[in-house]
Amino acid sequence: MTGEGDTQAREPIDLLVERFLARRRNEPRLSPEQFAGEHPQHAAALLELLPAILALEGHKRERVASGSGGRRAALPKLDRLGEFRIVREVGRGGMGVVFEAVQESLGRKVALKVLPQASLLSGNQLERFRREAQIAAQLHHSNIVPVFGSGESDGYHWYAMQFIEGEGLDCWREAQCAEQPQGPGAWRTRARFVARLGAQAASALHHAHGFGTLHRDIKPGNLLLQGGDHLWVTDFGLAKALEAEGLTHSGDILGTLQYMAPEQFHGQYDVHSEVYALGVTLYELLTLKPAFAAGSRSELMERIRQHRREPLRKACPELPADLVVVIEKACALDPQDRYADCSALARDLRAFLDDQPVAARRLSSVALLWRWGRRNRALAALAVATMLAVVSAGAMGWVSYGVASEALGRAEKSALLAAQESRRAEQNLDITLDAFGRVFDALVGPAPLVAVDEDEETGEATVVVRAVVDPKDLALLQEMLAFYDRFAAQNTGNAALRFETARACWRVGAIHARIGAPANLEAAGKAYQQALDHLASIADRDVRRERAAVLVEAAQLARRRGQPDAGRAALVESLALLAALASDGSRAIRLAQAEVHYLLANELPFGRRPPAGPGGRPDRVGEFERDRERERAASLREHAGKAMALVESVLAEDPASDDAKSLKARCLLLANRSLRRPDPGRGEGEREKTQQAAIAILRDVVARQPERDDDRFELCRALLEPMRPEDGPRGPREPAQLDAAACKEAADHAARLVSSQPSFREYQRLQAQSSLVLGRALLAADRTSELAAARVARLQEAEAALREAVRIEGVLTVAGAPLDRMLVQHSLQSRRALVAALEAQGQRDEANAEVAAALDRMQQFVADRSNLPRLSELLAMRAGSTDGTLRDQLRAMVERTGDPVFVERLRAMLARVPERGEVLPPEGRRGR
């Protein structure tokens, strides 16, 4: 601060002040008075300003001395505060000092938290502090330290709580640090101990959350341990009350920063953040070191944000895996990946303690890889490409390596080296193949055939197939395809690699099946056959399971390609392989058998009905067909029965197996479906009960494992099934009962499925269907409703649902796509219901517009006679229309279709339609 150059330009007082400050540095005792005396002409001003400047300066020094600005106000020694007699100081934290005290009026021992006097509570803060204390005082839970009250005495704000004879878990942890558990037994004891504490804390927090109170400062120091195993949560909401306006200073926040959830850094804080903080706390109690060790603030924040901490599994390899899963789920980076609330965490901790399966399934490495791939799609593609290059080089190199090392091996002294090299190459290959296999599993997933659906009217089967998951994955899949193709081609002659080659072919098949274009389906069939051939030629290991699995996939492929008999043969062969294996009694084999039986039983719609006659419905079936039909039905029943028996036997041993439960539900649903037509009279109540049982199973599975999309799909269908139109003497009629609640549930599930796999048509279809049924249910309810307001609301809801259905169907029937009859029918149904909803609301014009739009759409489908009944319905609805384009539309249809029968019908309709402008019904006129 040199001032020579600019003296001319400055105020004299300014210069004097500067000089004064400069001198004070060397003469700390220099007083303003003395200095003012030396400059009499400015004495008055100096005397006025200098003390203030000194105050400023002194303050500045203090701040600089205290580092980053924290001020830890000291509390003088207190003997008494209001009605509290202070016994001793028990702790000192950033927010104040905790005393053991006696509340003399009641003679009870309390823990008294006293905020430092220097902490200036603004009006707002004080208010908040009191409010939080009040709320905390309302919490009554065996694991929450009761708050007696708060107040102010002698200028100190205090907060009185029940005195807990115990220690904070931070102290406990420090004490434990001396002795890490030795051996699995000791680790198990520790794990159970921490889980018990965690369950108590979680249940306490959940209780508070129920009252809308967040703790906001969960950390070991705020969890007190009493009598060895009882946990108390303390200081509810205090952090919040004090934090906002800087009462808790940097130093104090630093203490809790380690437990802060990443989303807190941008101001989000909710129940998920508390789950996280508790998770991180439990992590620390298990490992005895913080999940995120202290460091510079920004660096620590960066680590938290990037989730850079040692995985619990690595930090304590001896911990029981289930507990690791639970804790890792609690402190997941993304709030959505954590437990939904503290009670779910408490439940899982208790499940662990009771040796029950925990709901948080471990994120398998595959899932992790998959997620990583989703997040970094470009990187994943690159990684796959790179791996591909390395592995193909390795695989091909390996073969030549073998030759080379053989040659080398002849030279005695190189033999050992050659063997080592060869082994290493083999290992590398194994590792890369394994890694690749994981990517494959994650991307391709289970067999793409999801279900077989049956057209409610014509009985035609639609195969429900999961298409390519995502166009973005296509590139990856094709890369992988190239790799496996090359691998298989290169190693066909290599006996040692035959198994891997077979697997590669298998995967080629699966990838093609996933891509799903007709050419791919054909290629898939070939690849599966190759895989089977390779497997058949393997003699040195048991590959029956693999063969069975490939056969099942091949069977599903055959069905998709419209070759039910080939599919059936493959399934039977698979069954034979599994039966031979079943002697070892393994549950997995039995479950696989059950699955195959189920698939065989589920063959139901294929070829069951002869092609529809001219009347659109099968009415005359030959004697031969009838016999075949009976035979087949018997066989299907037998498979269904076997599937169920096997599933039950698996469930008897392992009642928690979700795979078995899911299959059981499917079997139940299948039984119901097959009952539907042949024996409609048989116990409707029983059918309903079976359906509900299946629904309950699936609901349970899906609730615990939300990622099981296939089960969710099944559940959604099961919910909608009872609401399908029923067979009546004159075609389908509205189902007897439409359950709006079930429809809503189904619609929710469908929406979730669509958001999980947006490009999967079947899910969209399901969503459309559930919207349609929901709309209908609401319309049906409308008829019985009396309150006008409720009626309007319901109609509007119905309209919205139906519009959604129409919208999705519009998206699905893209131009150029192969005609999808079920979709067309659904689409027409949706329109019709929508028109009904609009008319019920008195919106005639809109209703007419919808009919016109539907007719427009019909132009595309006019070639298909089976759409005729719907078309006539639409036309009937349109009969009163004022818009004269109807005749034009009909004429266009007549021109487009070549079918004489259809033309005849259209002509008949045309005859009933008024000429343009001929008839103007009064409603229509009013609307103009």
């Binding site: 601060m1 040199t2 001032g3 150059g5 600019d6 330009a9 400055r10 105020e11 007082i13 300014d14 002040v17 500067e18 303003p32 006025e48 300003l49 003390p51 203030a52 400047i53 000194l54 105050a55 400023l56 300066e57 002194g58 303050h59 500045k60 203090e62 701040r63 600089v64 980053s68 600005g69 001020r71 006097q117 220097a118 200036l120 509570l121 603004s122 009006g123 200028g155 306006e245 800087g246 808790t248 200073h249 940097s250 104090d252 926040i253 630093l254 920063l257 850094f265 941008h266 101001g267 510079s296 603030r297 920004s298 660096e299 924040m301």
Partner: protein
């Protein structure tokens, strides 16, 4: 080796001596630290450390040494701007959409932050209510000041800039800066005098 003056270092830096950057920065570190300290959004106190900001600025300054050579600004002014930018970035990052005008808020230190510094200075046990009143008074005094006056006060006092430096930073004439400084002091004196001597 003789200790070089700030001017010599600055000239060396301009001439291509990259090592001079570190020395020069070191000399200004304290001021920059204070600059950050007083301007950090109170919402970020506890999340960001002034030290970290200064450190980050240093790294940035090192990267941009070429830009400094192209620029005619004195080093202090230049490095302050850089610090300022670092703070803006951090504010944006941490407060996100809530900070529509991060730049302005950073440059204008929160007056309640300053007032609480003044008030915390009081050691006499005058009670919370009185302190609260006092803080309100300081706050309104600061708020009533001309923005540049307030800046001069801050620069001169807390960042210990010379009058010339303060004038450079604010882009005003030296006499104007001095003038404003005295004006700000006079406005504050009313209640600062109440605080009594140290």
């Amino acid at each position: 080796m003789m200790e070089r003056t700030d001017e010599q270092l600055e000239a060396a830096l301009r001439a291509g001596d990259d090592a001079a950057m570190a020395q020069l920065f070191e000399r200004h570190r304290e001021r920059l630290f204070r600059m950050v300290q007083f301007r950090l959004d109170p919402r970020l106190v506890g999340r960001i450390d002034a030290d970290d900001v200064v450190q980050e600025t240093f790294l940035e300054a090192k990267k941009r040494v070429l830009a400094f050579r192209d620029d005619q600004k004195p080093f202090l002014v230049w490095v302050r701007l850089m610090t300022h930018q670092t703070m803006i970035d951090l504010h944006r990052k941490h407060l996100g959409a809530k900070m529509r005008s991060a730049g302005r808020e950073v440059s204008a230190p929160a007056s309640n932050a300053i007032s609480s510094f003044f008030v915390a200075q009081i050691t006499s046990p005058s009670g919370a209510v009185m302190r609260e009143e006092l803080r309100a008074k300081v706050e309104s005094a600061l708020a009533s000041m001309d923005e540049i006056d307030r800046e001069v006060l801050l620069l001169r006092h807390f960042e210990e800039l010379s009058n010339k430096e303060a004038a450079d930073v604010l882009g005003i004439q030296e006499n104007a800066a001095s003038n404003r400084y005295v004006r700000a002091l006079t406005r504050l004196k009313g209640f600062l005098a109440d605080l009594g001597p140290q």
